[in-house]
C-alpha cells in the first residue's frame, strides 16, 4: 500500500499540471503582497472608512496577519479549482492513456488503487496548503510584521489580538484541508465515471461555481438549500476568527464535510470496483 502511494505521488509529480496550482498560488500571493505593500493602507481605509469617519484607529493595522487573512479569503474559492486539476485526473487520466488496465492487472485490489490515489491526492492538497501558508503567513509576517488582526465582516469588524491569531490560522488551514479533501474526493469520484480528464475537472469546477453562486445569492428559496451544499461549509474556516468561537457551527460543518468526503470516496470505491475497464 505504501509503495502504491509512492507510485501515485511520483505520477502526480511527473505531470506538469500538478505545478499549475503551486505556480498560481505563488503568483497570486506575490501580487497580493506587492499590492498591499504599495497600496495596502488605501485598501484598509476603504473597508474601515465607516469606522474611521467617527473614530481614530491606533496601531499597526496593515500587518502580516491581516495580509494573510485577505489572501485566504481571496484564494479559498479558487484553490478547489486548482485541486480538481490534479485529483480529477487521477483515474480518468490513466483511462485516457490506457495505463489503468495495466494498473488493474497488478496484484493489488481495486480498493487499494483508489485509496492510494486518494492518499496521494491528500498529500498534494497538504503540500498546496503548506505552500500557501508559507507564502501568505510566513512572508506576510516577514514583510509586514505582526499585529492585531482586523477581520472584515459585512456588518461587523472583529479585532483579534496578535498573540491570539496563530492557532486560529492553523485551525483555519486544518478546515481548509478538510474542505479541499471534499473537493478532491468529489473529483476522484467523478474521475471514476470518465475516460478522459476534461469531464471530471470541468464538472467539479462547474459544481463548485454553481454552489458558490447559490451560497452568495440572498434569496429565501436558496436559504433552504444552502445547508446541504458542501461549499457552504467550506468557508467555515472564517469562524475561527470569531469571538466567541461558534463551536457548535464549526462541529456541524466538520461533520458535514467529513460526511461528504466519505460519501464521495465510497462512490469512487464502488464505481471503480464495478468499472468495466475496456481502454
Amino acid at each position: 500500500m505504501f509503495r502504491l502511494c509512492i507510485t501515485e505521488l511520483i505520477k502526480i509529480a511527473a505531470k506538469p499540471r500538478s505545478y499549475i496550482g503551486l505556480a498560481a498560488i505563488t503568483v497570486i500571493v506575490g501580487l497580493i503582497h506587492l499590492a498591499m505593500y504599495l497600496d495596502g493602507l488605501n485598501y484598509i481605509s476603504f473597508v474601515t472608512g465607516p469606522v474611521q469617519s467617527s473614530f481614530m484607529l491606533e496601531g499597526n493595522i496593515l500587518n502580516g496577519n491581516l495580509v494573510c487573512f485577505i489572501i485566504l479569503q481571496t484564494l479559498i474559492i479558487q484553490i478547489p479549482l486548482l485541486v480538481a486539476l490534479v485529483t480529477g485526473d487521477l483515474i480518468s487520466g490513466e483511462a485516457a492513456m490506457g495505463t489503468i488496465r495495466l494498473l488493474a492487472t497488478r496484484p493489488v485490489s481495486r480498493d487499494q488503487i483508489i485509496i492510494s490515489k486518494f492518499l496521494a491526492g491528500a498529500l498534494y492538497v497538504f503540500l498546496l496548503l503548506l505552500w500557501l501558508g508559507i507564502l501568505s503567513l510566513g512572508l506576510g509576517l516577514l514583510f509586514f510584521g505582526p499585529g492585531d488582526l482586523i477581520v472584515l465582516k459585512s456588518e461587523q469588524l472583529v479585532i483579534i489580538q496578535g498573540d491570539d491569531t496563530l492557532w486560529r490560522f492553523f485551525s483555519a488551514f486544518g478546515i481548509a484541508f478538510l474542505s479541499l479533501m471534499v473537493v478532491a474526493s468529489f473529483s476522484l469520484a467523478l474521475s471514476c465515471f470518465a475516460d478522459n480528464s476534461i469531464g471530471p475537472i470541468m464538472s467539479t469546477m462547474a459544481v463548485i461555481l454553481l454552489f458558490t453562486i447559490i451560497g452568495t445569492m440572498e434569496i429565501p428559496f436558496f436559504d433552504q438549500i444552502k445547508p446541504f451544499l458542501f461549499t457552504t461549509h467550506m468557508v467555515i474556516w472564517r469562524n475561527f476568527f470569531d469571538n466567541p468561537l461558534p463551536i457548535e457551527q464549526i462541529r456541524t460543518s466538520v461533520l458535514v464535510l467529513t460526511g461528504h468526503m466519505m460519501l464521495f470516496l465510497s462512490i469512487a470505491l464502488i464505481t471503480f470496483r464495478r468499472k468495466d475497464i475496456l481502454s
Binding site: V47, P50, V51, S53, S54, F55, M56, L57, E58, G59, N60, I61, Q73, T74, I76, G147, D148, I150, L152, K153, S154, E155, Q156, L157, V158, I159, I160, Q161, G162, T212, G215, T216, E218, K226, T232, V235, R238, D242, N243
Partner: protein, 228 residues
C-alpha cells in the same frame, strides 16, 4: 416707557456680561489647575463597547505635553473617539477664542456643578458647541458634551481619583454617536454570514469607549520624539 425698556435691555446685557465673566473665571480656575501639569504619561485600558466592533479591551500608553501635544501608543489596535481628551482643553486655553455662558446647575455624583456653554469664535472650527459641567468647589470638569460638524455629539464623563489635585481623570467614558457599519459581502468575502436581523431604525445609535487610566507619571518630562 422708553426709560424702562432701556433699563431692561441694559439689565439683560449686564447679566449676560456678568454670566460670561463668571463662566470665564470658572474656566480659568479649572485651567489653572490643569496647567500645573506640564506633561504626563499614563497606562490606559481602552474598552470599546460599540455594536459593530467585536474586540477585547486594549492596553495603551498615553502621552501629553503642553501646550497641545498628545499621543496614544498601542502595541495592538486601539479605537478612540476623534474628539480626543485634549480637544476641549485646547479650545479653552485660548481665552479670546470662545464665548462662554453659564446656563444653570446640576448635581452629579453628589457634587454641585455649574453648566457652562462654550461657543468657539471661529466658524471654521469643527466644534460647534461645548457644554461643560464644572464642579466649582473642586475646580474640575466632570462632564462635557461636544457638538461637532463632522461627528455629531460626544458626551464625555470624567471620574477623578488619585490625581484630583491636578485635574487628571482616572476614568473617562466617551458616549459617541455611531452610524451603521456595512460593507458589501463581495468585499468582505463573508458570503455565508446571515444578514442582521435588527429591523431598520432599531440599531443602536450610540456606543461607549471607556478609558481607565493608571500609573500616571506627571511632570517628569516626555521627550518630543514620542509625539512624532
Amino acid at each position: 416707557m422708553k426709560k424702562y425698556t432701556l433699563f431692561f435691555v441694559l439689565l439683560v446685557l449686564g447679566f449676560q456680561v456678568k454670566a460670561q465673566e463668571d463662566a470665564k473665571v470658572v474656566i480659568g480656575r479649572v485651567l489653572d489647575k490643569f496647567n500645573t501639569v506640564k506633561d504626563y504619561q499614563a497606562d490606559a485600558l481602552i474598552d470599546t463597547k460599540i455594536s459593530f466592533l467585536n474586540m477585547l479591551p486594549q492596553k495603551a500608553k498615553i502621552f501629553y505635553k503642553q501646550p497641545n501635544k498628545f499621543r496614544v501608543k498601542s502595541t495592538g489596535i486601539a479605537i478612540l473617539p476623534k474628539q480626543n481628551f485634549d480637544n476641549l482643553f485646547n479650545l479653552l486655553a485660548k481665552e479670546d477664542g470662545y464665548q462662554a455662558f453659564t446656563s444653570g446647575s446640576e448635581i452629579i455624583n453628589g457634587y454641585k456643578t455649574m453648566i457652562i456653554n462654550v461657543i468657539p469664535n471661529a466658524d471654521t472650527s469643527d466644534l460647534v458647541l461645548a457644554k461643560i459641567w464644572v464642579d466649582n468647589a473642586r475646580n474640575l470638569i466632570v462632564k462635557s458634551q461636544l457638538t461637532t460638524k463632522s461627528n455629531g455629539t460626544v458626551l464625555i464623563e470624567y471620574e477623578h481619583g488619585k490625581h484630583i489635585d491636578t485635574g487628571l481623570a482616572d476614568k473617562i467614558t466617551f458616549t459617541v454617536e455611531i452610524k451603521k457599519y456595512k460593507i458589501p459581502k463581495a468585499i468582505s468575502a463573508d458570503i455565508n454570514s446571515p444578514t442582521s436581523k435588527v429591523p431598520p431604525g432599531k440599531e443602536p445609535k450610540t456606543g461607549k469607549i471607556l478609558i481607565t487610566l493608571s500609573n500616571y507619571i506627571i511632570n517628569k518630562g516626555v521627550p518630543d520624539s514620542v509625539f512624532k
